[in-house]
Symmetry: C2
Subunit: 279 residues, 2 copies
């Protein structure tokens, strides 16, 4: 049978993945949630029709959003993760014995339930004793926090739908407040290639730059995201992601398939057209 999942990157460009079957399809209070078994990408998670992860390349996203900040400050103990219902960020964070607490705030409990059942490769560490899951709005949660976290990872969906609020200046200002003095915030920053995504990149970066003294952008190759050229934001109260890269990270013995400290330095060097977009 020919059964294809198609994501439109624009009205005039799309990427299609042949699937074996639809594993589950549910409608939560917030969004439609689908899981498919695909031929080439393993299981894939789709929210409101947008591809969120594939088992084939989720390691790239999750390693890059987690190990870049962790390698800058080995003193990170308290971490807040916003979104990230699939558990991939938590899986990477639990590789660090030095972390004491991981608070995860996910608006949609059904995403977590679905991932626990159907995506064990990402959700496998959600029961680590250091992990506390709060099912609520990320902005409401962070508003109540003051200098509590060393690191905030914003692993949201796109800047429309349930994740929209997590791209606002108000949200970033509250993240700043919730961070300790050496705090770092990392966020998924969309792609610079297609015009609509590029506008989101621009707006998001402007907001973050208006709140944090250090606000940089780094890139990764994530083939199943639109254009495959994906950006992350690195913002901090003072730590520079390259100058402050911890020389001891390699000796931690953390296994990664994408991230390494050479790449860490390289990924902050952006193409001219992306730099112009951000300026």
């Amino acid at each position: 049978m020919d059964l294809w999942f198609t994501e439109y990157h624009t009205q005039n460009a799309c990427f299609s993945i042949k699937v074996k079957k639809q594993v589950v399809s549910l409608e939560s209070e917030f969004q439609r949630i689908d899981v498919f078994d695909s031929y080439d990408f393993g299981r894939i998670l789709v929210l409101d029709g947008y591809l969120m992860l594939t088992e084939k390349d989720e390691f790239i996203y999750h390693e890059m959003i987690t190990h870049v900040p962790m390698a800058v400050n080995p003193g990170i103990r308290d971490v807040l993760v916003i979104g990230a219902g699939d558990g991939g960020v938590v899986r990477e964070l639990t590789k660090y014995e030095s972390i004491n607490r991981i608070d995860m705030v996910e608006i949609d409990k059904l995403v977590v339930d679905v991932c626990r059942e159907y995506l064990p490769r990402t959700s496998c560490r959600l029961d680590d004793p250091r992990v506390h899951i709060y099912y609520e709005n990320g902005l409401d949660f962070v508003v109540r926090k003051d200098k509590e976290y060393d690191l905030i990872i914003v692993d949201s969906t796109d800047p429309f739908g349930p994740g929209e609020e997590l791209f606002t200046r108000v949200f970033y200002a509250n993240c700043f407040k919730a961070l300790k003095g050496s705090g770092i915030m990392v966020n998924q920053h969309e792609s610079p290639y297609y015009p609509n995504d590029a506008l989101a990149v621009q707006k998001t970066h402007k907001h973050i730059k208006s709140v944090f003294p250090i606000a940089l952008v780094y890139q990764a190759h994530i083939p199943t995201y639109p254009s495959g050229h994906f950006l992350f934001g690195f913002a901090s109260k003072g730590l520079d992601p390259v100058a402050n890269l911890d020389a001891g990270w390699d000796s931690l013995g953390i296994e990664t398939r994408y991230y390494n400290t050479g790449l860490h330095k390289g990924c902050f060097a952006l193409p001219n057209y992306v730099k112009e977009l951000l300026d």
Copy 2:
């Protein structure tokens, strides 16, 4: 009307571009040649059903295959370009006043004729007086050359069809012979993501490494190529692409939309899974 060009990246994954019309479709002695007008990517060139370039992002490929070697050795005078019928590499090379001669060897004259007529943005500098076009097989041409070039750029199609020979050890050995003492060879090196492409990457790198004392790989984000994660090979008789990066490149005033010297250093830092593929 809904008219879509689709390229299969594997049997189970494809990328589709909505087109306004087919501008031309011809069959040469070597391959089928199509040009389409698309909505989001400008004109696109398709050879034997494979997307070769789009006007929207060809600058990434052409800048990265040209300026990386040019910035390593400002003394480059004699350049051999193999393939490159669309003229994009020549366009970038002619930005250097220091270059004396550009020999371009393209097996398929009809590709050049089509690009001259329908893709002026890439073919615009093919009439530069320093450019000499030879319509013949790249291997046959390079076999006759001895220590004649400072730089060879291999801008071939994929490692099957008319470009197959340009991925063999014999070809690379003849490129080595055709290069002067400080010679550099750069080639398009496919993508590491999909299994078949990854095998080609591995085989190509092994061949080049067996011929050149310096053989490295660098990467770029080219959204319309399979996976968007594209590799280039940098091989030389002695020059190291990062250690020997010329500090004077920025002062040349060459305008680029992707390449810059910061990115030059960053693009040689590869993800772990790519490094493992190459080892």
